[in-house]
């Protein structure tokens, strides 16, 4: 059941560029709201999605973000928010599609455009900083 809900969250993100609410999950799976809340909390505990702290609102289903960020990924008519500079490339990788990415350099606050075309990254300037070693990623996902 929980993996089915996880997949529904991703399908919803792809189709609507936002995660489903707990009420929408409950409706989809004919669950009580409390059952849907418990399911998303279990998925959060297993790092299969991440909730807004203190709530059952889905904030992250990597690489998708429910809130605006410095990384917007355009795929056809849809625009998605990526969680971070890695996830801006993760969205076209997950969707197996080309994309046009609008991103902000953290150091200069300038916008840049990064393009995936015919499955290839087109030449673009920049480096992505991973501040924490892998074993610490889930200590503070927002910082990471």
């Amino acid at each position: 059941m929980d993996l089915g809900i996880r997949h529904f969250v991703y399908r919803h993100f792809v189709a609507e560029a936002r995660p489903p609410t707990v009420d929408e999950i409950a409706r989809e799976f004919n669950l009580a709201r409390t059952e849907a809340e418990a399911a998303v909390e279990r998925l959060h505990q297993h790092h299969l999605l991440f909730l807004e702290p203190g709530t059952t609102d889905i904030r992250i289903a990597n690489p998708f973000s429910a809130i605006p960020t410095d990384y917007q990924v355009r795929v056809g008519p849809r625009a998605y928010w990526a969680n971070c500079a890695w996830d801006m490339l993760g969205i076209p990788a997950a969707l197996h599609t080309d994309a046009v990415i609008e991103a902000v350099y953290t150091d200069t606050r300038e916008w840049t455009t990064i393009t995936i075309s015919s499955g290839e990254l087109q030449p673009a300037a920049g480096v992505v900083h991973f501040p924490l070693p892998v074993r610490q990623w889930y200590d503070d996902l927002i910082l990471t």
Partner: protein, 71 residues
């Protein structure tokens, strides 16, 4: 993970903000990593990865330093 113009700017930004200085990847390497990391994320069967599977993905794109290891 944040996007910067250069490694030098990462050094400066980390010093100014007192953020930890980690490792920087070029966009080409990160695109290769992203394809391995995320290609199966929309699969109904995706249920996370073991530490060994995570490390194997990093190794495929040449990331073998302790920074990239879970074990």
């Amino acid at each position: 993970m944040l996007l910067f113009r250069s490694e030098e700017n990462i050094d400066r930004w980390c010093a100014e903000t007192k953020m930890p200085r980690g490792v920087a990847l070029g966009l080409d390497q990160l695109w290769q990593l992203s394809k391995l990391w995320y290609s199966d994320r929309l699969s109904p069967d995706f249920a996370g990865r073991t530490a060994a599977q995570v490390e194997a993905i990093f190794e495929k794109v040449g990331l073998t330093a302790t920074f990239w290891r879970l074990s």
